[in-house]
C-alpha cells in the first residue's frame, strides 16, 4: 500500500498568512477580514466626528431665529427657509400695524410670507447672491488658468532641456515663500493706480499667480511619473508632440490634474484677505461678505449658516465630481520598471 498525500482541498488552499492588502485575492483570511471591518468602522466614526460642524451648519441654516437660540438646542424642529430668504434679500422691519395689514393681502408670494413670519418686508435682492456669483467667476476662471498654464509649464519642465531649469523652478516656488498678507498693502496701492482695484480681472490674475507655483510643482511631479516611453511610442506611431500631449499625457495625468484643480479651487474660493482689501462692490466675493451679514441688527445665526452652506456647496460639488480621479487609478504600472 502506498500512502498518497491527499491533494489540498479548495478550503485549505487559500493564503496561509492573513492577506491584508491585495488586488487579486478571492479568498481572504477571516482575521484580515475582521481587521478590515474594524478599520472601516473607525474611519466612519472619525469622519462622522469631523462632520459634526457641517451637520450643525446645515441644521442651523434651516431653523427660524427663535429655534436657533432655543435652549436646550433643538435637534428636531420644523424646517424653515427664513435664513436663506434673509440672506438673499434686502429687508426692512415692519411695524405692528404694517404687519397686520400685509397679512391681509391675498397675493403675497411665498418669499414675502416667509419674510412676514419674522416681521419684515423684502425690498429687493441682497448683495450676497451677486457676491456668490463673483466668487464662482473669479475662483473658477483662476482655477482653470492655473491648471492649464501649470500643466503646460510642468510638461515643459518635465520633458525638455530648459536652460537654468533648477533655478527657474526655485524661482517659481519662491513666490510662495512670503506670507501673502505681507504684500497686501503694496498690491492694493499698485492695483489702485493701474485701475485693477475692484475688478474681476484683478483678482483672477492675483489668484492665478498665487496658484501657479503650486500647480507647476504638483503637476510636474505627476508628469515626471509618466514614463517617457508612452510619448515616444506615440511619436513613432505618427503623432505630433501636441497630439501626444492631449492623447497620452493628459489622460495619464488626470489624477494630478484633478488634485491640482481641487486645491487651486479651494484656495481661490476661500481667499479672504486680498478679496477684502482689493474689492469693494463690483468684484466683491463671498468670503469677505459673510462677516458683514453679522452686522445688520442682532446676530442672525440662521442667515450666517445659510450663507456658509451656500458657500460650501460649489466646492463640494467639484470635489465630488472629481473624486474618482483623486484616487490613484489602478492603471499605474503598465510599464514595468
Amino acid at each position: 500500500m502506498t500512502a498518497t498525500t491527499p491533494r489540498p482541498t479548495f478550503e485549505q488552499s487559500g493564503p496561509r498568512l492573513p492577506v491584508v492588502e491585495s488586488i487579486r485575492v478571492d479568498r481572504v483570511h477571516p482575521r484580515a477580514r475582521i481587521a478590515g471591518s474594524v478599520r472601516a468602522t473607525l474611519a466612519i466614526i472619525l469622519s462622522l466626528i469631523s462632520l459634526i460642524p457641517v451637520f450643525w451648519i446645515v441644521l442651523t441654516a434651516f431653523k427660524t431665529p427663535t429655534d436657533v437660540t432655543a435652549i436646550p438646542p433643538k435637534l428636531i424642529f420644523e424646517p424653515s427657509l427664513t435664513g436663506f430668504v434673509s440672506l438673499l434679500s434686502d429687508m426692512r422691519l415692519l411695524s405692528q400695524a404694517e404687519q397686520e395689514e400685509r397679512s391681509q393681502q391675498p397675493d403675497l408670494s411665498w418669499v414675502d410670507q416667509i419674510a412676514l413670519q419674522i416681521g419684515r418686508a423684502i425690498n429687493g435682492p441682497s448683495q450676497y447672491a451677486r457676491q456668490l456669483g463673483n466668487s464662482v467667476i473669479i475662483a473658477g476662471t483662476s482655477t482653470l488658468l492655473s491648471v492649464v498654464l501649470g500643466l503646460l509649464s510642468a510638461y515643459a519642465f518635465s520633458r525638455f532641456n530648459i536652460p537654468a531649469k533648477g533655478d527657474l523652478l526655485f524661482f517659481i516656488l519662491s513666490t510662495r515663500m512670503l506670507p501673502p498678507v505681507v504684500v497686501t498693502i503694496p498690491i492694493f496701492l499698485m492695483y489702485r493706480s493701474i485701475g485693477l482695484h475692484d475688478t474681476h480681472f484683478g483678482l483672477i490674475m492675483l489668484y492665478t499667480v498665487f496658484n501657479l507655483s503650486f500647480s507647476v510643482w504638483l503637476l510636474k511631479g505627476f508628469i515626471d511619473e509618466i514614463p517617457r516611453e508612452y510619448e515616444e511610442a506615440a511619436l513613432v506611431d505618427g503623432y505630433t508632440r501636441l497630439q501626444t500631449f492631449f492623447r497620452i499625457v493628459i489622460p495619464q495625468a488626470r489624477t494630478g490634474i484633478a488634485a491640482t484643480t481641487v486645491f487651486c479651487l479651494i484656495f481661490a474660493w476661500n481667499e479672504y484677505a486680498f478679496a477684502l482689501m482689493l474689492t469693494t462692490q463690483n468684484a466683491r466675493t463671498a468670503p469677505p461678505s459673510i462677516p458683514s451679514i453679522l452686522g445688520s441688527g442682532g446676530i442672525e445665526w440662521n442667515t450666517i449658516a445659510a450663507g456658509a452652506l451656500l458657500f460650501l456647496i460649489p466646492v463640494v460639488i467639484v470635489t465630488f465630481a472629481l473624486r474618482q480621479h483623486l484616487l490613484r487609478g489602478v492603471t499605474f504600472g503598465a510599464v514595468r520598471k
Binding site: 516611453e229 508612452y230 511610442a233 511619436l235 513613432v236 506611431d237 503623432y239 497620452i248 489602478v330 520598471k337
Partner: protein, 367 residues
C-alpha cells in the same frame, strides 16, 4: 520595405561619446542585431534611427531618402520598447488601433487591420483587456501587434524580450523570428544576450564603448572575430587567448609548450612580429581535442559536465591563463591530472597584441 543606411552617424552627450561615428547599411528584409555590453550605445543608435534622439553629426538614409532631421512620425518606422509602453488607459484593441488613428484610416479599415494582426499573433482573446491585467508575454505580443498594424517600412526593437521571464523569452524569440520570416521586414534588434543575437540575426553588429567592433554574420563573428574584444565577448566561455612568443614558424608559451603556426598564417604573422616577437593565439574550446599525442601539455584545473560534453579547464603553467577545452563526456579527468591536447589548425586565430586586431590569413596558400 526598406534599406537603412547610417553614414558617419555619431552621438555625444556633452563631451562624451554615446556612439562614435559609425557606418552601417542594412539591406531590405535583413534582421540585424546590435549586440554589446550595457552602456555601449545600442539604444542610442536605435533611437537615432527612429528619430527620438537627434544625431550629433552624420546622415541617416531610409531607402535612399535623407531622414536625418525628420520627425519620428514622418519616418514610417515602428519601435518596440523593452518595457512595452502600452498605453494603460486603453484596451489592447485600442492600443493596436492607435497608430492607425494617427493616419486617419477609415474606421472599418482600422477594425479589419487590427483584427488581422491580432489573428496573426494569436491574441484575439485579449482584445478587450487592459495592459495591466496581462502577463509580460501577452503585453509584448500586443506591443508587437501595435508595431505591425501600420505596416511600417522597418522595425526597431530595443531588448523586446529583456523584461520577460526566461521561459517566455524562448517562446517569444521564436515568435519574433517566425514573424520576421513571414513578413520579411527590415528589422534592427537590440540585445545584450548573445544567444539571442546568434539565434535570430542575419548579421550582428558588435558594439563596445560606443564603437562598432565588428559587423558580420553570426558565424563570422563567432569564428573570425575582428579583434580581442569580440573574441572574448562572443561565446560562453569566450575564445581562449594565449600570449606567446613567435619565432621561426613556432609560437612558444613558456617551457616546452610550442605551437606551429599553420602555413596560411605564416606570412601575416611574420609581417606583424617582424620575424619574431609577441603574438596572441586564440582558439575556441571546440577547436581543441584531448589526445595522447597532442602538442600542448597542461594539468586539469577543474572540469564540469555539460549536456553532451565536458568542459575541461586546463592550466598551462608559466603565467598562461586557464584555457577551456571541450572533451568527451565519457572520460574522467581527475584534478591535477596531466593531459595533452592538439588544436585544429583551421580553427586557430592570431591577434596582434599591440593593435588587438585579428590577423588575416593568406588565402589557400597551404593547398
Amino acid at each position: 520595405m526598406a534599406t537603412i543606411t547610417l553614414q558617419q552617424v555619431e552621438k555625444k552627450f556633452g563631451s562624451a561619446y554615446a556612439v562614435q561615428p559609425m557606418d552601417l547599411t542594412i539591406q531590405d528584409g535583413e534582421f540585424v542585431v546590435l549586440l554589446g555590453p550595457s552602456g555601449c550605445g545600442k539604444t542610442t543608435t536605435l533611437r537615432m534611427i527612429s528619430g527620438l534622439e537627434a544625431v550629433t553629426s552624420g546622415k541617416i538614409l531610409l531607402n535612399g531618402r535623407d531622414v536625418t532631421w525628420l520627425h519620428p512620425s514622418e519616418r514610417d518606422i515602428a519601435f518596440v520598447f523593452q518595457f512595452f509602453a502600452l498605453y494603460p488607459h486603453l484596451t489592447a484593441r485600442e492600443n493596436v488601433a492607435f497608430p492607425l488613428q494617427a493616419q486617419s484610416v477609415p474606421r472599418d479599415e482600422v477594425t479589419k487591420r487590427v483584427n488581422e494582426v491580432l489573428k496573426l499573433l494569436q491574441i484575439e482573446h485579449l482584445a478587450n483587456s487592459r495592459p495591466a491585467a496581462l502577463s509580460g508575454g501577452d503585453q509584448q505580443r500586443i506591443a508587437l501587434a501595435r508595431a505591425l498594424v501600420r505596416r511600417p517600412s522597418a522595425f526597431l526593437m530595443d531588448e523586446p524580450l529583456g523584461a520577460l521571464d526566461a521561459e517566455f523569452r524562448e517562446t517569444m524569440r521564436a515568435e519574433i523570428k517566425r514573424l520576421h520570416l513571414s513578413i520579411n521586414a527590415t528589422t534592427v534588434y537590440v540585445t545584450h544576450d548573445q544567444v539571442e543575437a546568434m539565434a535570430m540575426s542575419d548579421r550582428i553588429v558588435v558594439m563596445s564603448a560606443a564603437v562598432v567592433q565588428q559587423v558580420g554574420t553570426p558565424a563570422e563573428v563567432y569564428y573570425d572575430p575582428a579583434n580581442l574584444f569580440v573574441a572574448r565577448f562572443i561565446g560562453s566561455p569566450g575564445m581562449n587567448l594565449l600570449k606567446g612568443r613567435y619565432s621561426e614558424g613556432v609560437v612558444s608559451f613558456g617551457g616546452s609548450k610550442r605551437l606551429p603556426v599553420p602555413a596560411a598564417w605564416r606570412a601575416a604573422v611574420d609581417q606583424v612580429t617582424q620575424g619574431g616577437g609577441e603574438l596572441i593565439v586564440g582558439f575556441r574550446p571546440e577547436a581543441a581535442s584531448v589526445r595522447a599525442d597532442g602538442e600542448l601539455e597542461a594539468t586539469v584545473y577543474a572540469s564540469d559536465l555539460h549536456g553532451g560534453f565536458s568542459m575541461l579547464h586546463l592550466d598551462l603553467g608559466h603565467e598562461n591563463p586557464i584555457v577551456h577545452v571541450r572533451a568527451s563526456r565519457q572520460e574522467i579527468y581527475p584534478i591535477d591530472a596531466l593531459v595533452r591536447f592538439s588544436l585544429d589548425p583551421n580553427m586557430v586565430r592570431f591577434f596582434d597584441p599591440r593593435t588587438e586586431k585579428a590577423l588575416q590569413p593568406v588565402a589557400e596558400v597551404a593547398l
